[in-house]
């Protein structure tokens, strides 16, 4: 199968500190990949570069589609209604409203469709941002800790909706998470980042249950799967 994204010689530093150094990495079309690693391991920077929000210092990033959805860790909500906030992200303008409402229904959030985006709580804002991703239905989905601020029920709904979306559309999914259980539910493979480098990559069960790298072992030792 052909690749959805390819990285060659990627380097990024902030204030003289190297935060990302990935000589080569590719993810195939339809792949489901979880990025795990400690805080500051480079997950967010990698996702921001893939989304085109941040430019790399060195190297090349090739994305094979222009239909990319990116959900940042702290999404911004425009001072419109929630429904309009979601509809704004849909390219198909004719069906934008219907798709926004369908996404809200999938997350059980119809009741707050008319509320202002700026009035949402942290958890609600995160679910709304996720509703944008659902409504967009793009070919490449990049999510930065998508359920970090959601409660248990919200988290479960989001995971279920994401699983259905990716299964139905065949989209490529790359997401950062601190929860190995979430990686187990949604991903087929896992990339472990350590100080901006790929420490280990492998099939999700194999890597989570029997990690080889010291970094993955140390990171996963705190979790009971």
């Amino acid at each position: 199968m052909s690749n959805m994204l390819e990285i060659r010689g990627l380097k990024k530093s902030f204030g003289g500190i190297d935060v990302l150094d990935i000589p080569e990495l590719s993810i195939e079309k339809g792949g489901r990949c979880a990025l795990i690693g400690a805080n500051g391991s480079g997950k967010t920077t990698l996702l921001r570069i893939l989304a085109g929000v941040l430019a790399p210092d060195e190297g090349k990033v090739r994305i094979m589609t222009d239909k990319v959805s990116y959900m940042p860790q702290k999404p911004y909500f425009f001072d419109f209604s929630v429904e309009k906030n979601i509809a704004l992200a849909v390219r198909d303008r004719k069906n934008a409203k219907a798709r926004a409402n369908a996404a809200l229904s999938a997350l059980g959030l119809e009741s707050i469709a008319a509320r202002r985006g700026s009035s949402l709580s942290g958890g609600e804002a995160q679910r709304m941002a996720f509703a944008r991703v659902l409504a967009e239905r793009n070919e490449l989905i990049l999510l930065d800790e998508p359920t970090a601020a959601a409660d248990l029920i919200g988290c479960e709904r989001m995971e279920k909706a994401l699983d259905s979306l990716v299964a139905e559309s065949g989209a490529t999914l790359v997401f950062a998470t601190h929860t190995p259980a979430q990686a187990l539910k949604l991903a087929r493979e896992v990339i472990v980042l350590d100080k901006g480098r790929v420490a280990e990559r492998g099939e999700v069960r194999q890597l989570l249950y029997s990690p080889r790298s010291e970094c993955a072992k140390s990171f996963l030792s705190h979790w009971r799967l």
Binding site: V53, P72, F78, S81, A89, A114, R116, R132, E136, N138
Partner: protein
Amino acid sequence: MQEFLKVVAQLFTPGGELLKIIGVTLYMAFLSTTISACLGLPLGVLIGSRRFRGKGVLMRVLNTLMGLPPVVAGLLVFFLLSRSGPLGSLKLLYTVSAMVIAQVLLITPIVAGLSASIVSGISPRLRETARGMGLSRHAEFFCLLYECRGQFLSVVLTAFGRSIAEVGAVSIVGGNVQYKTRVMTTAIMLETNKGNFEFAVSLGVVLLLISFIINSAALSLQEHERKLHGERRSA
């Protein structure tokens, strides 16, 4: 109290000097604020939303100009417009236009500096989300303007407040000419120099009232919008 009643009576005297002073004051303040907003807001948005070399220096220059002493601005415009100055042929000295030019010089850095600081606070998160949503640069820009609209209104009101209360620059380039360039602040200064303290205070009260009415009108517009949001929220 007697002096205050005299001022109030003058307010209702058609063709009276006080009405003319109020007219010139409002004309000067509105015109200079409008021009400054047209120049300063786009400049502020541009500086606040872009990353470029020298941005820090430019922000420092703007912040310095925000504290430009009015008499210095007045002096600069005076030299420019005086008969021997580079723009002397325009014969604008001691006219309301000269006062507006001096005000624009004073207020534009305030508008630009404040709006740049507002935009740079919102812009990075908004840009990240907008790019993540695949919005075009134009859509991203209009969303940014929409998001900052409330703060921009506050900036414009601040500029208007500075303009209507300004005395140093306008007295240098306007000359406080009766029925021509006399504004509320220069009139207050004149009456104080003449020893008519009560009359000066009464003029000050009228100036404050005008400022209060204009601020209230602008802020009630904002509140009306917020109420509309509330209605939509509970709908």
